[in-house]
Subunit: 334 residues, 2 copies
DNA sequence: GTGAAAGCGCTAACAG
DNA sequence: CTGTTAGCGCTTTCAC
């Protein structure tokens, strides 16, 4: 099976040309006779020549490869993000090395190191945990351009593409209020990440604008898992008889919450309205089709990659901080 | 931002040593004095040395990188497969380059070429369309070991890891019959791929063993999309009043089928029982929690990678054809 | 124990 | 239009 691998040198010898001539001919660099180019191309094909991009990379100091670090690739939330990255990278002739950070700062740093010594041309962080000021020095030390996606860097010093969490949350809560709910519970994601605190900001803002006082008792926290959403909802159910609506910090929590509500023998949305955030795949086909805030996941991945690629080519100076407006998706659960 | 990148040479000069000595010291290759090793390590750290694995790859002719080609990475079905691959690759010090084949033979071949000239050490095909005999020559021409995963190669000449589609399907249909259903519709995936024809074999076998004659009128086809499942179910509903159960070739089709049934004002499972195949994420939280056949997706990805890695190291001779037994997951839809 | 030299396959000056 | 030369950063004989 191990085929003899053919190189430029072999082709050159076969044709009695120099390596340089062959290289130029194959790359269509010009300065080579038309007939020669043809002969070279034909011979390369006949000999089954496969360019060695490792050698090329060493020489040119570029790998045409991007590193994509996903905070936890077991969440299918990231599927469209990854897809967007992969696709636009491919369009520009780049490949991506996918790494999982397992929601762990040290593992994520390790991934950066590995990718850096594979000499990737750029790095994309999806929901990174290295978005804090304290990791800036580390990230910059490699001299590799990078972009944050889904979750922004804490300062605006780095490029990023995210959805407007405050606005998305505001839209949802405002809608819930305008359509009759007064007492809106909020099971937010319990992590000190700006994405989530921004969702809290939107929640408060919507209450305020509608003249509803904030009631701290309606605030709950959960990790972004079905189990945690389920548990949080059960605590809510145990605490009160009157629950107009529950706004969940993400769809996964909403799934757990809906389970708890159904299990308690209550109806969605008649007894309790449920809303989520993200619009994960199949959100329309859950127990009750879920009303949610749609993050443009694919687009975020795509734009992040494009920005990174532009930066690699030194296309712009200033920071690119892009905040996309999310959409409300109304379904049956509210 | 573009840091001056430090090489072995720089360290050598700094220390008045040879490049060779530094290289050996850093790799702990032995034959270097203990004190020297220490000095080298310290200096490397101080100078922020980052090994250049591109150069190493060129020299050693190995990249510690695997190519993973997914037939369509927009299906979140593949998320756990990718995860399994990534994780076990990482355990052995390998990274993966992820490519999407967009369910297209030509694009998939192109991906192979790209990965081959990036000199990946091995290739993993997830639900490949290049699994036919006619692509063997092409794949072998690169001299790169590869493994098929999820979908087998048509002959057993290549390594693969899949679930036992015949058995999974048999288990489900047998269960449906034994629990009272006689007239079981089958909406299979409409593609001429052995995975799907094997599911048909299991269906027939279960009928046969239970003494139920095959009725061709109960056989439907659909692409693996919600829309197609929905449409197929509507055709079934229009064709008959008596429908005991519907077995769907994959969960995504089942989702569509359930939508159609509910829309028709019928109840699941009281009026019609619905079963799927795959056990995708959140199958337990759909309209009606879905009874399905669980493919060990993560494990398939993991085992495939391990086999590939073993083969890269020349660990075995014979073909590795692994067929894992899937499990029945009983939920509320049946 | 340590170093010199060669070379992986390619591109990029610079000559001719 | 084509070839020579030099090296990218590393590992690997083979001497000393």
């Amino acid at each position: 099976m191990p085929k003899k691998v053919v190189t430029l040198k072999n082709i050159a010898e076969e044709l009695g040309l120099s390596i340089t001539a062959v290289s130029k001919a194959l790359r269509g660099e010009g300065g080579i006779g038309k007939d020669t180019v043809l002969r070279v191309q034909e011979t390369a094909k006949r000999m089954n020549y496969l360019p060695n991009s490792v050698a090329k990379s060493l020489r040119t100091n570029t790998t045409k490869t991007l590193g994509l670090i996903v905070s936890d690739s077991s969440f299918s939330f990231f599927t469209p993000v990854i897809e967007g990255v992969e696709k636009s990278a491919a369009e520009y002739g780049y490949n991506i090395i996918l790494c999982n950070a397992y929601s762990n700062v040290d593992k994520e740093r390790e991934a950066v190191r590995i990718l850096a010594n594979k000499r990737v041309d750029g790095l994309i962080f999806a929901a990174s945990m290295l978005n804090g000021e304290e990791h800036r020095g580390f990230l910059d030390s490699f001299g590799i351009p990078y972009v944050f996606v889904i979750r922004k860097s804490e300062t605006d010093e780095s490029d990023y593409v995210i959805n407007d969490n405050t606005n998305g949350s505001f839209q949802m809560v405002d809608y819930l209020i305008k359509t009759g709910s007064k007492k809106i519970y909020f099971i937010n994601i319990y992590e000190k990440i700006t994405s989530y605190s921004d969702r809290m900001v939107g929640y408060r803002k919507a209450l305020e604008e509608n003249g509803i006082p904030l009631d701290e008792h309606l605030l709950y926290g959960a990790k972004p898992t079905v189990e945690d959403g389920y548990a949080a909802m059960n605590r809510i159910l145990a605490s009160s008889q009157q629950i107009d609506a529950v706004f969940c910090g993400c769809d996964v929590i909403a799934i757990g919450a809906m389970e708890a509500i159904i299990e308690a023998g209550l109806r969605i949305p008649e007894d309790i309205r449920v809303a989520g955030y993200d619009d994960i795949e199949y959100a329309a086909y859950l127990r009750v089709p879920l009303t949610t805030v749609r993050q443009p996941k694919y687009k975020i991945g795509k734009m992040g990659t494009e920005i990174l690629l532009d930066r690699i080519q030194g296309k712009f100076e200033g920071r690119q901080n892009i905040i996309l407006r999310p959409d409300l998706v109304l379904r049956h659960s509210t």
